[in-house]
Symmetry: C5
Subunit: 95 residues, 5 copies
């Protein structure tokens, strides 16, 4: 999994019908020091994350292993809101 910051939302009214009801978040991907990498991904939100929160997302077929995304054409899902992580004994982020 990788880390991302919820930067915003995306709306698409015309879409594959099984996607009806999914909320799409625009994530800016983060490196391990919480700085932005310059990349982004649009992910379905399985946990009710809000703009500004730091989240963890899964991609590929693993993104379909939630009840929310199962059997849908969705390749990225926010599956956790991060409380804290540490690297080398240093806390890099706390919510």
């Amino acid at each position: 999994m990788l880390l991302g910051k919820v930067a915003g939302t995306l709306v698409a009214s015309r879409k594959e019908e099984t996607l009806e009801g999914l909320k799409f978040l625009v994530l800016k991907t983060l490196d391990v020091d919480e700085s932005e990498t310059g990349s982004y991904v649009v992910a379905a939100d399985a946990v009710g994350a809000g703009v500004g929160e730091i989240v963890m997302y899964a991609t590929g077929s693993s993104a379909r292993q939630t009840t929310y995304t199962k059997d849908r054409p969705c390749d990225a899902v926010v599956m956790a809101i991060v409380d804290t992580w540490e690297v080398g004994g240093d806390v890099k982020y706390t919510k």
Copy 2:
């Protein structure tokens, strides 16, 4: 998922037979500010997107989770036409 702009179409008459009837779109991939990244992808069109439209596409096994692409050798699908997205409170794109 990532964002792309429908740049054109691709025709292939000799192909794996299960692909018969699929429409292939040439997408230029976009970054979160709607500028082109220089990359492209050819994706099956599951939503009837037109040239010039901004779309969202899924890749890998997730690209086969539409009735249109199920069980076919297709690794990218346009699964939504984007209406709008915002980042940091700023609307980055509106259809």
Copy 3:
């Protein structure tokens, strides 16, 4: 999917037994203007492509969705020979 030019062939007599009979093509990957990107991929040939032809290939589990590659340890397949594509109203390639 991405585009490639069939640059040559590869022979491997000692291999996983389910691969017996597959033809392997060396593809040089192309960008959307038909120039070579410098990358390559070795793909199974599901459509009878010849050296010099421009093809479309699928990767990952989607590469196993042909009768030719089903249930085999193969992660790239040529699934179409391209006739033509256009970008921005310009024909970029015609066979």
Copy 4:
């Protein structure tokens, strides 16, 4: 598979419910000479690895082939703690 060094841990209390009980490790990815590449990945820990250990991790659907991660939205798993590897006859790492 790729090699990584366990750099730290990550805690997420609000998450997809099937993830309850998984331990998440922050891995710094290594090249073949055991130097850090600058990239990271967050992986579920299927083997009880500790901070500072060198591990091997699998990604994608393969990350769900442990009893610990089966059917969960998890795309990276630590599946082995490395004892040693050698390249060109030189031992590059020994635990």
Copy 5:
């Protein structure tokens, strides 16, 4: 698939139990001219390859389509030992 040179081996005694008995090879990835790219991958060996041999490997779920790797948390497998390949009419490698 991509090409690699078997550079060495890796030993991991503490691992997911289904991995018991697999042999892990350290591959240096090659470009189409047989020069090293600077990247590596650790792959399970399904064909009995030796150090110094040029092999072809598959990644992702395709790496689990051998009897050796089926249902295991393994995302790369050596599935063929290469005899020869040619590009543009030139033999680039012969065993």
